[in-house]
Structure formats: C-alpha cells, structure tokens
Symmetry: D2
Subunit: 153 residues, 4 copies
C-alpha cells in the first residue's frame, strides 16, 4: 500500500545478459570483440556469472590459464555485476583488486560467480569465486574488488 | 562398498563449538579469557560462526567498533574454521589478511560467518562476512585470509 | 618569487611526535592510554615511524607477537601519517587493510615505518614495513591501507 | 678472512636485463613476443624496473590504460625480480596479488619499480610502485604480490 521498497527487495537487473554483452562489445571492443574470451552467462541485481573460454594462446609455461587472465575475469565480472545493478550510465572505476590463486586451473573453460557485498551510492565491493567447468567445489581463485561510482551527472 | 570418500563429502567438525571454546580459552587466555569478547557460536567442516560482544571499551571516536577488533574477529574466526576442519593439533599461521570496511557498525554485537574456500594440506584460504546483529543484509566488513598449515609431525 | 608551491614540495608535519601522542592519548585512551603499547617515534609529511613495545601479554602460542597486534600497529601508523599530513581535524576512516605476515617476530619491540603513497583530498593510501628492532633488513610484516577522508566541514 | 656472507650482502643479479628479456621472449611469447608491451629496463638482486609501452589498443573508455594491464605489469615485474634473484631455473607461482589504483594514468608509458620485501626458500613477497613516465611522485598504482617457490628438483 505504501509503495516503498525495502532496501533489500529483489530487484530485476537493469540489463539482461544479451544487452550486457552488446554493451560490452560496443564499449570494450579490445576485450569483448570478435575473438572475445569473456562471456556474460547470467546477470541479476548485484550478481554476474561469467565464462572465460579456454584458449591455448593464454597458456603460461606449465599449461595453466594465466593469472592476469583470471584477474581480468574477476575485474570484468564485478564491473558487469555493478552495471547490472545500476544500469549502463555510470562509469565505475576499480580502486582495489585482491586475488588469491588457489590451484592450477584445468585445460577447460573457467566460470566465475561475482556477487556484490556492498552497493552504495559511491562505493561497490564484491567477491568472485572462479572454478574450472565441472569443478565448482574446488575453486581455482577467489577475488575481492572495490569500485568507485562517480556521482550522477 | 568401497569405503572411499569423495573429496567433498560432508564431514563432521573435529571439535564442536563448546570444545572449541574450551580449547581457545586454554590456548589463548588473552583473547578468550575471563572478559572475552569473541565467542564461537557454531562450527562445521570448513565453517565457523563467531560473535563479538558489543563492548563500549572498544569504541573509537564516533562510536564505532574498532577496525582492529573486526580484523581480530575475522582472523580468529578463520582460525576456528581451520581447527574445526583439521582438529586442534596443527598450528596454522596467518600469512595474509585483507579486509574491506563497508559501513560503520551499530552499537550491537557483531556476527561473523567464516568459510574456507580452500583447505589444502599446506594452505587454507577463507572468507568472512561481518554484520551487526539483525542486519545480515548490510555487511559492515568483508575479509579474506590465507593460512599456512605446518607439515604434520 | 611566484610563491606557488610545487605539489611535492617538502612540507612540515602538522603535528610533531609529542603533539601526536598527546592527541592520541586523549582521543584513543583504550589504545594509547596508561599501559599503552604503541608509541609515535617520528612523524613527517606523509610519514610516521611507530614502536610497539614487546609485551608478553600479547603473545600467542609459540611466543610470537600476535597478528592482530601487528594489524593494529599498521592501521594506527597510517592513521598517524595522515594526521601528520592534514592535521588533527578530519576523521579518516580505514576502508581497506591488507597485510602479509613474512616471518615470526622476535621477542623484541617492533618498529614500523608508514609512508603514504597517495594523499588526495578524499583518499589516502599508504604502505607499512614492520620489523623486530635491530633487524630492519628482515621484515616481519608488510601492509597497505586505504583511508577515506571526509569532506571538510 | 671468514669468507662467510652476511644474509643481506649485495648480490649481483643472476641474469641481466638483456638475458631476462631473452628468457621471457622464449618462455612467454604471448606476453613478450613481437608486439610486446612489457620491457625489462633494469634488474638487480630483489629488484626489477619495468616499462609498459603506451598502446592505444589497451585503452578503456575514458582513455586510461586498463587495470588488467597494470595488474599484469605488477605481476610480471615481481616475477622478473624473483628470477633476477634466484635464477631462471625455478618456476615461481603467484599466490596473491593486491593492487590499489590511485589515479588515472596519463597517455604515456608506465614505469614500475618492483622490490622484494621477503625472499625466502619457499615464499617471496614484493611490492610495486607504478607511475606515468616523468611523474614518479604521483603514483598511478601500488601493488603487493606473494609467490610460492617450488622446492628445487
């Protein structure tokens, strides 16, 4: 009757996964262009699930997917979770990223689930779990990231 | 028939919450002694839930529970989750702690849920969510910690 | 002749070490009170050197100074370096602390050198090296911290 | 007369900058290959200075060098500092990387100085300062990284 929304009411995402990919391809052609590695599998309010395609060109000696690729996956996924929550208008800027590498990934796609633990007006903080496809119980990396959200214009 | 255990079969905790508190009071009298602030509420394999009693002596200017108190809560809780998983024999050593402070806590008890995202033979990594009692949706801090587990003697 | 100051001209500290200790004892009696562990040895623009007195009450099993004590030392030292740079008016708030524990400290005082790598209007970031007295070449811990500086009133 | 070496005696690097680049081009052709962005400018025991060439292809919206590029620069530089110290035999593995982004880089090359704060038999920890060429006083990013060094074969 009041129409007021609780702070934690389930909100729909501002863009769905297909809209998000179209936005990313347009804005970040280097990362999401023709031979893109990173795919948005699902988005929701404060959430994104990403896929990083296994690509032998990314391999380090010893055959693992590189650490920088996983850092990029974590950073991109949190950025997508923020856009899914506040829409594609604002330009969030990463201020901190912390990543723990837990074990050597397999020669498979990586999946990442990205959740915002805080979504304020000026600051968003999230955490990311990364695993090799089919091995969700045995994470290959875990990251947290902090983002500054510029004031609305 | 095989008796083999899957790596991720649900295991019981090696100590229950009461046994854990008794162990901690004996081993860490400075932290878990007579006027102790930190309490073990629940433990499970790879998990601990901790309570930090609101205590005006810990207050900083402006009335918040201090950052160092929350760091200690996160570190202690992950230590408890490791002991719950591998038993009280080994002495795990913190090698890294990273904490994001998300908002000012209320003048209430803090609760912390601590989950291990990796439990290897030599290394354990976990994450901690901290909130003011009754406000689980609005975290006051989020931490990750890394622990070195010495080889068995 | 111009009177303009370069951004990185050497500035004097806004408080000297004695003024800083008096301020801290008044504002943080729990930490800097009668039996205080933490001492301000020197301050400068964007810099503080702190001492943590060896105190057997702080010992963990195995005889080391506790991780939380070192986290508090790092956090307090960066806070002092900020106050030394901007004066005691504003209330800086820790938003992130990341600490690596490198080796077991000796049963001696700890010294910490705290340097700001960024001092903006709204954000300060610093790093801390911690060692056992007389062993500066062999750090026991290294930390970085991020602080939010509220707008001036 | 004793011939004993102090633990902190100045040691020469195990490879010089040119040998290091040749090693990296051979082992990491994806990163240090024909159109390589990252260059080893100088190495010493526990130290590396790296250059990241300004390359418009790396730009994000708004024109800055991307966060992932700076993470890769930090990670690669610490890896080079470890190789410079222990030689190209062992394969160090990144276990943690924490990076603070301090301001938007200019449209210039980035320089990074990478110093090991610990170099143990099994663990190395280092810190990295990154700035736009000519603006060493105003860091664009600061990182710390932790590396696991496998036992010698």
């Amino acid at each position: 009757m009041t129409g007021s929304m609780s702070k934690h009411e389930r909100l729909p995402p501002k863009l769905n996964a297909a809209e998000m990919e179209a936005f990313l391809e347009r804005e970040f052609p280097q990362v999401f262009g023709s031979r893109k590695m990173f795919h948005v599998e699902a988005v929701d309010h404060r959430f994104a699930r990403m896929r990083c395609r296994y690509d032998p060109r990314q391999l380090r000696p010893g055959g693992t997917i590189s650490g920088p690729t996983m850092m990029t996956l974590a950073d991109t996924g949190l950025y997508v979770a923020i856009l899914a929550s506040i829409g594609p208008v604002a330009l969030a800027v990463t201020t901190n990223l912390n990543i723990n590498f837990l074990r050597k990934p397999d020669q498979k796609d990586l999946l990442a689930e990205c959740r915002l633990v805080k979504l304020g007006k000026r600051l968003a903080v999230g955490e990311v779990s990364i695993w090799s496809e089919g091995e969700e119980e045995d994470l290959v990396a875990h990251a947290t990231g902090t983002y500054s959200i510029p004031p609305e214009r």
